[in-house]
């Protein structure tokens, strides 16, 4: 995927539309979330695993202008290969501070605590109400600003 096609699919930075990177290994679940997000005007790039998500990020970074290539990341925790928490840790260690939302099927206290420690914006236990996810996104200050910038 060349940088231009990426921008075509994904929208160039500053276009006013929030760009979401979504990582979820269950196909139907990913489709559902992506559809719901797109319905509300978000631009969504889908990845079926944590590893795919990382490589996607890398490609976007190389192709983009160096600025944040994703405005928000939504990721399942339990995926084959790299899991959500590890992705979060990796990103934070690279000083990428975009909002990060985690989804999990087995959200015990330990997992919630680690998510908080690593600086996740929110964590949802499956099954959750998609409306709640949309509300969190809408209320995240960073994303709010972006949408306002475009007017």
């Amino acid at each position: 995927m060349t940088p231009d096609t990426l921008n075509e699919k994904y929208g160039a930075p500053g276009s006013g539309r929030v760009r979401v990177l979504l990582a979820e290994d269950d196909d139907e679940m990913r489709r559902l979330i992506a559809e719901t997000l797109r319905r509300d005007g978000y631009l969504v790039m889908e990845a079926p695993s944590g590893a795919e998500l990382m490589s996607l990020l890398e490609r976007l970074q190389n192709g983009g202008d160096g600025a944040s290539v994703a405005d928000v990341i939504i990721s399942d925790i339990r995926m084959p290969g790299l899991d959500g928490l590890e992705v979060l840790r990796e990103l934070r260690s690279r000083h990428l501070t975009m909002p990060f939302i985690l989804i999990t099927a087995f959200g015990d206290d330990e997992t919630h605590r680690r998510a908080e420690e690593l600086g996740a914006t929110a964590i949802f236990d499956k099954p959750f109400d998609l409306d709640d996810l949309m509300t969190v996104l809408a209320n995240t200050p960073v994303l709010h600003k972006l949408q306002k910038m475009a007017g």
């Binding site: 269950d26 139907e28 679940m29 319905r39 084959p80 099927a105 099954p127 109400d129 998609l130």
Partner: protein
């Protein structure tokens, strides 16, 4: 107090020895002194008398000399003095040797003494002093005195000595016993008691002895030892209870792991489809879907519901296993049936499936459906282990085997069916757990980990077992063994 008796014995021996030796030497010295005194007396008296007698002999004649001696003798009570002619000199001397000696001495003009035992056993000292009137001895004065009084004295001394010895011994023994009991006996008894209590595990209060010697040191050391023992005991107890607690925790965690895994498995397997169903249904309800989309959503809802149903069925299957309904089954057909069912999936991944048989009879007494379930599970695992394609081989063998202990069957002939793949293989540490319920090496979402444990259970109910061999990177072989039917095989 046995110790005191030993000490007493030692003291007694010592005292007796010392006093006896001292007594002996004292008696001897006494006797010697007596003898010396007596001899000196005799010599003095004898010489003086001899001079006088010699003069009288010369001047007044032999008879006068005898007279004088007789009158002197009468005057001396304890000493008998005689004047003896040379010829009768030695008449009173019994011993030839002594007699000769005395004779010689006297003839030489020298004084001589001899001890002679008289009747009754009492010794007498005889002193012979030569009388020399002119140039040569003509006679000798014999003085004889009894040693008896001195002997009596010696006897008294000996008795006195013995008496003193006995008194000393008795007194010392009593003292030793008394001191022994007080300084050693009683404290030791207390020490013995303390030791006994220690042995029984009673660490109690320290033993304080009011003395300043080795026994007290021993008591102090015992106290220290008791303290150390008490601490070590307490430590051992703490460690034991800690170990028990840790074991309990492990057992607890073990139980939790299985239940926890089951719970997380269910949560994921059921939670995700539920999320999708809920989301899609709400979309329809809110009117966010129109026309064809409604139908699409409904289809998705139905699919996800099916997914949940399958999981519930699997769980129920795991919980309840039905009795195998055994009949004569040809395993080759079972394999073919399984291949047919899974061919589409295999082909999608480039997996080629083949059945191999070297003329081994593949008849068994088994529940065909259940065996098919097992085989399906094994073949499915094999296919999933080869995402890049490869060969899946099912082969048969007939051999005499001794089943693993838990099967509880005897050595016999078994039909082995092996499913071999060229996949990633299983990690060595996972192999022993591979048949455990809810154990899975797949990512969550690809299975609840029940398949192999169900399969194992089914084969066990057929009085067989499943084995696995795996080489990481090369592949795995799952072999199941079923007892050969008793009836002779139909093919050679």
């Amino acid at each position: 107090m046995k110790l005191a008796l030993k000490l007493v014995l030692a003291i007694v021996v010592g005292i007796v020895l010392v006093l006896a030796v001292d007594g002996y030497f004292r008696v001897r010295r006494q006797l010697e002194a007596f003898e010396g005194d007596m001899k000196r007396d005799h010599a003095a008296m004898g010489r003086a008398l001899a001079e006088v007698v010699a003069d009288v002999w010369e001047i007044e004649g032999e008879a006068k000399a005898f007279e004088i001696v007789e009158s002197v003798d009468k005057r001396k009570a304890n000493v008998s003095i005689r004047l003896l002619g040379l010829d009768v000199l030695t008449n009173s001397i019994p011993s030839m040797e002594q007699a000769a000696r005395v004779q010689d001495s006297v003839l030489d003009g020298e004084l001589a003494t001899a001890f002679i035992d008289h009747q009754g056993g009492s010794p007498f000292l005889h002193t012979f002093v030569p009388v020399i009137p002119a140039a040569a001895p003509v006679a000798a004065i014999e003085l004889a005195e009894s040693f008896a009084p001195h002997e009596a004295f010696v006897r008294v001394t000996i008795i006195r000595s013995v008496f003193i010895t006995i008194v000393t011994v008795v007194l010392c023994s009593l003292l030793v016993v008394a001191f022994g009991m007080f300084f050693v006996g009683r404290p030791l008894k207390r020490l013995v008691e303390k030791t006994r209590k220690l042995g029984a595990g009673d660490f109690g209060t320290p033993l304080k002895l009011r003395q300043n010697d080795e026994v007290a040191i021993l008591a102090e050391e015992m106290n220290l030892m008791a303290e150390r023992l008490a601490r070590a005991n307490a430590k051992a107890e703490r460690e034991a209870s800690a170990r028990i607690a840790a074991l309990e925790q492990l057992r607890h965690a073990d139980r939790l792991t299985t239940v926890g895994r089951l719970a997380s498995g269910i949560a994921h397997e059921v939670g995700t489809p539920l999320n999708v169903i809920s989301g899609r249904a709400k979309m329809i309800a809110k009117g966010e879907a129109d026309g064809g989309e409604i139908r699409e959503n409904a289809v998705i809802i139905a699919e996800q519901a099916d997914r949940i149903t399958k999981i519930v069925q699997q769980l129920l299957d795991f919980a309840r296993r039905r009795e195998p309904r055994k009949e004569r089954v040809d395993l080759r057909h079972v394999v073919e049936g399984t291949f047919t069912m899974l061919r589409p999936m295999a082909e999608k991944r480039g997996v080629r499936m083949v059945q191999v048989n070297d003329g081994v009879s593949t008849d068994v007494e088994a529940d065909g459906t259940l065996i098919q379930q097992v085989l399906t599970n094994l073949v499915l695992n094999a296919i999933q282990a080869m995402p890049g394609g490869g060969w899946l081989t099912v082969s048969f063998s007939r051999l005499r085997r001794s089943p693993p202990l838990e099967v509880g069957a005897e050595e016999g002939t078994y039909l082995g069916m092996s499913v071999e793949d060229q996949g990633e293989g299983i990690l060595e540490e996972d192999v022993p757990r591979i048949f455990d319920p809810f154990f899975t090496t797949k990512g969550v979402g690809e299975g609840t980990g029940l398949g192999l444990s169900v399969a194992y259970g089914i084969i066990r109910e057929h009085k067989g077992w499943i084995e696995v061999e795996s080489v990481r990177g090369r592949g795995s072989v799952f072999s199941l063994y079923l007892p050969c039917p008793e009836a002779p095989a139909l093919d050679a």
